[in-house]
Structures are given as structure tokens and as C-alpha cells.
Amino acid sequence: MTAPLEANKVTMRFGGLKALSEFTLVMQPGELVGLIGPNGAGKTTAFNAITGVYVPTEGEVKVGGVRVNDEKPHQICTRGVARTFQNIRLFKQLTALDNVRIACHAGAKSGFVDSLFLTAHHRSEEARILARAEEYLEVMGLSHRRYEVAKNLPYGEQRRLEIARALATGPKVLCLDEPAAGMNASEKTDLMRLVRSIRDKFGLAILIIEHDMRVVMGISERLLVLDHGITIAEGKPEAVRKNPKVIEAYLGDAYLEEKHMAVPPQEASK
């Protein structure tokens, strides 16, 4: 079966800055992958390269086996890759319901003419979209907030709404950019449980960027660790967390030395 999402040696250069180096990731259907790394490691850059916000300087991105390097974000979305944003990007003045309904649009076939003349097709599409939107709100536990204007929602619900919205595009791969940022420990656990249940219920592959190691350890089947744009480790969570390079990236040499885990210079460049 073709991988729903494939990134092959994707490199992003901005002027002289190499933000992402040879980023490679092949996602299997239904897989839960975590993308971690310290601040500025290039995680969101990777997301942006995958979803078409940036055009990869080098390398290739394939969605469902099709090369999408030059496609615009909305085209990539229609192909089945949805995302959320690190700094929440909801449609602030619109209701929760409308936020989700807009995402349902991805693939809607009725056009301007239908809407202007109130054709039967238009009405059935509207009903279908409404029903779908309600369903996704339900899944994320936001049905009671459907008429609430997005900017008035509490922070945690806003994050969930963003996920509901991304889900509504009917993706095969869901990319979540720090979905638990700003939440407390128990909220994070709840969210991660929710993410796993979404994966189970909808059969999606999910790629999560997370800062909080503990959170992402708990639910990832596989981890990729970035530092300064380079993938420094990849594999199962237990192995990755013990990887000295990973520890060094997050905590620095001093910690490693203290724990007698410092990697001698010759070995570090392997």
C-alpha cells in the first residue's frame, strides 16, 4: 500500500540559513509518529514544507504516491493532508460550527451558481455539510459550543476546535503542531488520549509535533528527533529517549557530563 505521506530528503534553505536538512519520513497508514526537538529545530518548517506552505528547496514530498512539491496548500489538503497550527489559527470571528463547516467544504462540489439560485443540489450539500460538521464537533466534545464565536472559546476548546476543523477536511494524514501547548498536565493527558481515539476511529496517520517529551512518548509509535534542522535520532520512543545525542540536544553537554554520558567529540559526529 502506498504511504499516505512521504518526505524524501527535504531540505529548506532561507537565504543562507538551512532550516531543514534532508528531512526524511515515510508514514504508514494509521501510524502515530511524534516529531520532537528543541525550539527552533525545524519541526514547524518540516510541517510547512509537507503541507505546501513552503516549496522545498531540495527533496521531494509525496502524498499518496503523488509528488506535490509545487502544489498549493489547498491542493495538498484535498489530497488528504490536514494540519493545525502552532499559534492557533482559527477563524476567530466565525462560530465553531462555521469553522468546521468551512473545512467540510474541501471537496464540496456545488458552485456559486447553485448557491445563488438555491438549487436542490445546493440545499442537499448544505445539509450534508451541516451534518458532517456536527459529527466532528461531537467527536471533539464541542457540540455544546457550536454557536459560540471561536475567539470566545476557552483556550483548551480552541485547540480542540482546530483539531475538529482539520479532521473535517477528511484527511488521511493529520499533522498536529503542538496541540497541547499551554495546557496543564492532566489536560495534556486527556488530549493525547483523544488523539489516539481519533486515530483509532478514523484510521488516520497522525504526525505530532510536541515539545513535551513525556506527552509524546506516551502515544507515539515512532519518534523523529530534530535539532538545528537535522534528524539526530529516529526509532521507538524507549530507544530514542536514551539516545545521548537526544539528551544533549535538549539538555546540553553539562547534563551529559554530570551523568557521565558525554559523548567524546569523535563519536558525536557519527
Binding site: 503541507t51 506552505v53 498549493k72 496548500p73 489547498h74 491542493q75 489538503c77 484535498t78 490536514a82 494540519r83 497550527f85 489559527r89 482559527l90 477563524f91 476567530k92 470571528q93 466565525l94 462560530t95 460550527l97 462555521d98 463547516r101 468551512i102 473545512a103 467544504h105 474541501a106 471537496g107 464540496a108 456545488s110 458552485g111 456559486f112 448557491s115 445563488l116 439560485f117 438555491l118 438549487t119 436542490a120 445546493h122 450539500e125 448544505e126 455539510i129 451541516l130 457550536r146 454557536y147 464565536v149 475567539k151 476543523r165 482539520a166 477536511t169
Partner: protein, 352 residues
């Protein structure tokens, strides 16, 4: 049968409007032709304001070139009505034929204006904010200078002696058509996509909305109705000259939309009517008109940038909702208008 009913339902506003307008026309026509002209102007201004609102208010794009599309529509319609002025179709008689000719002229005006909207919109709508404003202004002026230099279009003196076909009914029907268009757009999938673009273009794009495609389409629709307005007004005063369609005219429409509230159809209607009346009342102070306009804009932006209605609509009031038995989610967006809320975008323009 169900389909026939559905089609009928979609034309309901016109069916109701026609007799009312006919009555109004008879009344005004016999009472005072001057008042009839004011009513016509009011209708035209409603068409202009509501159509511009689709681009500036719904989609959050700042277009300053509306007058250019008015001109395209006006001249196209004028050429047709002048050419077919003497036409009499067998069995219809002169009056009815000419009404049909006028209808065709209006439609043609809308079509050419729409094409112009497409040609201008395609390259321009990749640009952001201030840049789009300048480019649309530029295109509006380019259209005007092209017209000014074409002998075929009467150059600077323009076309005169146009058959005066616009009356209260035509203006009223056009206004209703524009309002209906905007309203149906606002509650539809496409309309929601436009609002999404206004709220956060990047997020909209990420959610599968072809932002450029939608922006262009909104632009084209808006341009078509501007063309209609242009055709109507020139056939009300029997004249089509380049000076009628300068960017000052565009700014006047922008004032109406901003005054009413960017994104509020009700606001545009109210503002258009109010300003038309106010203009008439201030006719003797013609010289001060633009100064008053300017002060109005400045004070409005400083004190109440969301205009009279923000993005709210009259028909969203609970009273009207109950009457129509409409649940709250089938309305347009609520909340603040684009001029009220803090805008976080920092890019300096250019293509996304």
C-alpha cells in the same frame, strides 16, 4: 412539481418586489420626477455598495477600482441601446422591444464588466492589503484612460443621448437582485469560504479553500454588479462620460461600505440610502461635499471603525429570526468587522 416550487421560491423576492416597485414608480412618477431620480440613484448606490461589500467586506480584500467596472458596464450597455434604439420587434411593439433591448444591454454590461473584473483580478489578487488597493486604483484609472482615448467611445466627451430607460422599477429590481445575491452568498458554502479568507487566509488555504480562486470569483461577481450599476446610472441621465467614473467615485462607494459596516449587507443598504439622501439635501453646498466626505471618513475611522452595523445584519435580530423560523447557525458571521479587530499580519505585501 417540487422542482418548480423550488425555482419559484428562489425568485420570491422579485415576485414580491415587482408590484411594490411598480406602485412606487407610478406614485413617484406622478408626484415628482426629481424624487424619482433620487429613488433611482438610491437603488444604484445600493447595488454599488452591496456589490463592493462582497469583495471588501466578505472577503476582506481592499478594492479601490469599482468605478472602472461601472464604466465598462455603462459603455457596453450604451453602445447597445444606441445601436438598437429604433428597433421594433414584430408583435411586441416599440415599448416592449426597447425594454427587452435594455434588459439585454444591462446583461451585456454585467458580462463585460465581469470579464474586466477577471482580467484585473487574476493578476492583482495575489497581492495583500495596501498593494491590492493601489493596483485596483491603478487599473480603474487605466480603464478610464483607455476609454478617454478611444474615438469609438466618444473619448473625453463620452456618449450622450442615451435612451433614458432606467426607472424606479429597473433600479429597484437591480437593488433587490444585488441584495439577494449577497445574502444567498453569505449563507452558502462559498460565502463561508470568503469569510474564512477574510479571517485567516493561510488557515483557509490549509483547510482546502482555493483562496486565489475564490477571491477572483468574488471580484468578478462584484465587478459584474458594478457594471450593472454603471449601465443603470448612465441610462438614467442619458450620459456616459469618463469623468463620471473616476476613482473619486470608487472612494464614494468605499465610504458607503465602510460607513455601513464592512461585511454587513444591511449596513451597505442603509448607508447607501442615507448618503444618497444626504447628498441631495446638501446639494447647495456642493463645494463642501468632498470636505464633508473626508471628515466623515476620518471621524468614522477614529471613533467607530466598524461603521453603523459592524458585520451584523438586521435580519439576524432575534425578532426576525423567529419570524423566519431560522436557527442561529444559518446566519452570516457575527462579531467584529475587519476594521475593528486587531490585525496580526505583518508581511509587507507581495505574493504569498
Amino acid at each position: 412539481m417540487a422542482r418548480a416550487l423550488a425555482v419559484l421560491r428562489s425568485f420570491l423576492p422579485f415576485l414580491i418586489g415587482l408590484p411594490i416597485l411598480y406602485g412606487l414608480q407610478l406614485f413617484l412618477g406622478s408626484w415628482s420626477p426629481a424624487m424619482a431620480l433620487i429613488a433611482v440613484t438610491m437603488g444604484v448606490n445600493v447595488v454599488l455598495a452591496v456589490s463592493l461589500n462582497v469583495v471588501n467586506g466578505f472577503t476582506g480584500q481592499f478594492s479601490l477600482g469599482h468605478a472602472g467596472f461601472m464604466a465598462v458596464g455603462a459603455y457596453t450597455a450604451a453602445k447597445i441601446t444606441i445601436a438598437l434604439n429604433g428597433l421594433v420587434l414584430p408583435g411586441l411593439g416599440y415599448a416592449l422591444t426597447q425594454q427587452a433591448v435594455f434588459a439585454i444591454a444591462l446583461a451585456a454590461g454585467m458580462l463585460t464588466a465581469a470579464i474586466a473584473g477577471f482580467l484585473v483580478g487574476m493578476p492583482s489578487l495575489r497581492l495583500r492589503g495596501d498593494y491590492l488597493a493601489i493596483v485596483t486604483l491603478g487599473f480603474g484609472e487605466i480603464i478610464r484612460s483607455i476609454i478617454e482615448n478611444m474615438k469609438f467611445l466618444g473619448q473625453a466627451t463620452g456618449l450622450s443621448g442615451l435612451p433614458a430607460r432606467t426607472n424606479v422599477m429597473w433600479a429597484g429590481i437591480s437593488a433587490i437582485a444585488t441584495i439577494v445575491m449577497a445574502r444567498r452568498l453569505a449563507v452558502s458554502t462559498q460565502g463561508r469560504a470568503l469569510f474564512a479568507i477574510r479571517e485567516d487566509e493561510i488557515a483557509a488555504e490549509a483547510m482546502g479553500v482555493d483562496t486565489t480562486g475564490y477571491k477572483v470569483r468574488a471580484f468578478v461577481i462584484s465587478a459584474a454588479y458594478a457594471g450593472l450599476a454603471g449601465a443603470l446610472i448612465s441610462h438614467a441621465i442619458s450620459l456616459a462620460t469618463p469623468r463620471m467614473f473616476t476613482f473619486i467615485r470608487s472612494i464614494e462607494v468605499v465610504v458607503m461600505v465602510v460607513l455601513g459596516g464592512l461585511g454587513s449587507i444591511t449596513g451597505s443598504i442603509v448607508a447607501a440610502c442615507t448618503l444618497t439622501v444626504a447628498l441631495e439635501a446638501l446639494r447647495q453646498f456642493q463645494a463642501y461635499r468632498m470636505v464633508v466626505y473626508a471628515l466623515l471618513l476620518i471621524i468614522l475611522m477614529l471613533t467607530r471603525p466598524q461603521g453603523l452595523f459592524g458585520t451584523r445584519e438586521l435580519w439576524d435580530l432575534p425578532l426576525f429570526r423567529k419570524l423566519a423560523r431560522r436557527p442561529p447557525e444559518l446566519t452570516g458571521p457575527e462579531g467584529a468587522s475587519p476594521t475593528e479587530v486587531r490585525d496580526d499580519s505583518t508581511s509587507a505585501g507581495g505574493a504569498a
